[in-house]
């Protein structure tokens, strides 16, 4: 993984937090600029998203919220912990290209301060299990060597027994995790794809093999891991492409210590297509047969999705009988036709995943 940070912007208010000091100590020779809030906020996506600038922000928005899900499809019911936005990589399919109209790698330095409020809420709901992820709006580990979030967050999870934290990444930036003594209810998770798609479309991200080697090391260090085949991309040789990755998982990973593997075929809001075409001229990820889904997002035509999920399930099942396979944002009908069963709704899927937590961590939710 090769991430360059050429300069640091400290927004007004960010200097008040210890986290800013921690980060600046790690970026000693990087030029710093102090600016007022939200300055300048215009991004020219046709050039770049200023991904070499780290912007430290005293964030005033929501830190903790349920995944909004999407109309007409089943959601896994996890919660988003917002540590920052944007990511150093340039994956052609990335939804963040259209979600955020602000440039730079944005780190919310007041997170630790805000965790008190989040923790209070979690304690008030101590009977409920919260599956929390930090990988919705950024890569959970890409900047960990600078932010040290893994230390802060593993400590936080240790103090709140009804929390499972999933750190989703496309990196092998795992050393920070090993300096933490907490392993319980920390799921380290990798985005998986076919090697060809990863090489062509996940610009700047760590290779699939290195991700798997990192996953193996995490297992050796006592972490439970998970994988997300999301987005699955339909291309000429997709079956062989994904099969190869499944074989690699089998080669590197102890499957008994995998909590879940999710799948989701590529989907996008229509506005993203414009941006993808502008930023990634050579991409073929939009070649498939997309139709407008029940939520207005573009998705592959139903039989294509069913074929892909069925294929993935068939071969993943061959590795291990129960890998906690689930579909991300799919309809009960697709579940049934590709998996042979359906959780019926988001609560059903939540229960299923909570049972996986209970099994792997010996909890009781």
């Amino acid at each position: 993984m090769d991430i360059t940070i050429s300069n640091v912007i400290i927004e007004e208010g960010a200097d008040n937090y210890k986290q800013t000091e921690v980060i600046l100590r790690k970026l000693e020779n990087v030029p710093i600029k102090r600016v007022e809030k939200n300055y300048p906020n215009k991004k020219d996506i046709s050039v770049n998203m200023d991904k070499e600038t780290l912007r430290l922000i005293d964030f005033k928005g929501e830190f903790f919220k349920p995944c909004p899900g999407t109309k007409g499809y089943i959601c896994c019911g996890y919660h988003i912990l917002n540590t920052g936005t944007n990511c150093p990589f340039n994956c052609s399919y990335c939804i963040l290209q259209v979600y955020f109209n602000q440039p730079s790698l944005r780190v919310f330095v007041n997170l630790e301060h805000e965790l008190d409020t989040v923790g209070h809420f979690l304690d008030l709901n101590h009977k409920k299990l919260f599956r929390i992820g930090t990988g919705e709006f950024t890569d959970s580990l890409a900047l960990d060597h600078v932010t040290d979030w893994s230390k802060t967050l593993t400590r936080f999870v240790n103090a709140h027994k009804n929390v499972v934290l999933e750190l989703k990444t496309k990196t092998d930036n795992i050393n920070g995790l090993f300096s933490s003594s907490y392993r319980e209810r920390i799921v380290v998770s990798w985005s998986m794809n076919s090697i060809a798609i990863s090489a062509k479309e996940e610009h700047g991200a760590t290779s699939i093999i290195k991700r798997l080697k990192a996953a193996k090391r995490c297992q050796e260090e006592g972490y439970i891991i998970s994988f997300h085949f999301d987005p699955l991309i339909y291309f000429k040789d997709w079956k062989n492409g994904y099969l190869k990755t499944i074989e690699l998982i089998d080669k590197y990973i102890n499957l008994k210590k995998v909590i879940w593997i999710s799948m989701g075929c590529i989907r996008y809001i229509p506005a993203l297509k414009f941006i993808i075409r502008k930023r990634h001229h050579d991409t073929h990820i939009l070649d498939g047969e997309f139709i407008t889904g029940l939520d207005g997002k573009m998705r592959y035509f139903k039989p294509i999705r069913i074929e892909m999920y069925s294929f993935m399930k068939e071969f993943l099942d061959k590795l291990e009988n129960n890998l906690g396979l689930y579909l991300c944002m799919e309809s009960p009908e697709i579940w049934l036709k590709s998996f042979g069963w359906s959780p019926e709704n988001s609560n059903g899927l939540s229960d299923y995943l909570n049972k996986r937590v209970n099994k792997l961590y010996k909890t009781n939710y």
Partner: protein
């Protein structure tokens, strides 16, 4: 505040303008739109008729440029009409030594035009482009957006891009009244592709929805099949369609979009056709329709019965009950 009041905020010293009319050699007027021009796509015949009938009522204003030729400040369309009418000289008021700067002269012409007409999108692009020679984009947002009836900074970007198109493309945009939404899609295409697409839009008189679908499909097909858009559109199947004489233009337009859809979404199209065949075999009563959900994405099929009264409804339901194949209706694709 109306447009005249807004423009009056612009500080222009008009005192030095004399109203002396001189005659200027028509050969020395350049036909290329000059730095103050904001006219495109006008009907010159109307102006010719008017001049022939009542003469040149409004005197143009001009400025002599460094090369000794005349830049038209106001009256571009009138002078072009006079050229057609073969006038040898044109009565004008010269502003060369009026003390007015080029930015003053641009605003002078803008004020002259704003009071009498609306601008088309090509003209708006010309105006913004010329204003940017003298003013910052923020000043344009603040003072000129509303005057020009422009609603967003995004629209300004589109107008500026339109300004850079060729005159042929600009003419089609104007004649076919192509909306900004379509233009936005067009602007991402290569010039040769854009010209070809505009020609097809114009030849088949595609409506706005068809325009967008056409551009999306043809662009996707071009990328997927790694063929240029002109190469694709020159394929026999499309050329034959456009030459076809038995069908009306709207029929051809629909067929053209269907062709593209079948090529862009072959599995979906195949399944839609298979479904329609499946339903056709049932020989449903004429007042009954069975539809699949849009793109087959939702789980439910739809049964639609038109009926005149309760008796008619009961009769239809009884007839439906007799159709044995009804129970076989299913998704047209095969699953493992």
């Amino acid at each position: 505040m109306d447009s005249c009041e807004k423009l009056s905020e612009y500080n222009m010293d008009m005192k030095q303008i004399t109203n002396r009319i001189d005659f200027f050699d028509i050969e020395k007027f350049n036909e290329t739109p000059g730095p103050f021009c904001m006219s495109f796509g006008f009907d010159i015949q109307k102006i010719i008729c008017s001049i022939e009938k009542v003469g040149l009522i409004n005197i143009p204003y001009i400025k002599i440029n460094e090369n000794g030729y005349f830049d038209i400040v106001t009256g571009y369309r009138r002078i072009m009409a006079l050229k057609t009418l073969k006038w040898e000289s044109v009565p004008c008021i010269e502003l060369t030594n009026s003390g007015l700067s080029d930015s003053d002269l641009l605003i002078f012409n803008l004020s002259d035009n704003l009071c009498t007409r609306r601008f088309n999108n090509i003209e708006k692009g010309m105006i913004i482009n010329n204003l940017l020679l003298f003013f910052s984009i923020d000043e344009i947002y603040m003072h000129y957006m509303e005057l020009l009836n422009i609603t967003s900074s995004r629209e300004i970007d589109i107008l500026l891009k339109i300004n850079r198109l060729s005159n042929t493309e600009k003419n089609i945009i104007l004649t076919e009244a192509i909306p900004n939404k379509t233009i936005e899609y067009l602007l991402d295409l290569k010039e040769s592709s854009r010209r070809m697409v505009l020609k097809w839009i114009s030849d088949l008189k595609l409506n706005i929805n068809q325009q967008i679908i056409f551009i999306e499909y043809i662009n996707d097909i071009s990328i997927k099949e790694e063929k240029d858009i002109p190469e694709l559109l020159n394929e026999e199947i499309y050329l034959e369609l456009i030459m076809e004489k038995k069908q009306s233009i709207p029929q051809k337009a629909k067929k053209f979009i269907d062709f593209l859809k079948a090529r862009r979404l072959p599995i979906l199209t195949k399944n839609e056709k298979a479904f329609h065949r499946q339903i056709a075999k049932l020989s449903l009563p004429k007042n009954v329709k069975i539809k699949h959900p849009p793109y087959f994405e939702g789980p439910d099929y739809l049964l639609e019965i038109n009926f005149t009264d309760g008796m008619n409804l009961k009769k239809t339901i009884s007839a439906l009950e007799q159709i044995k194949g009804l129970a076989t209706i299913s998704d047209p694709w095969k699953e493992k």
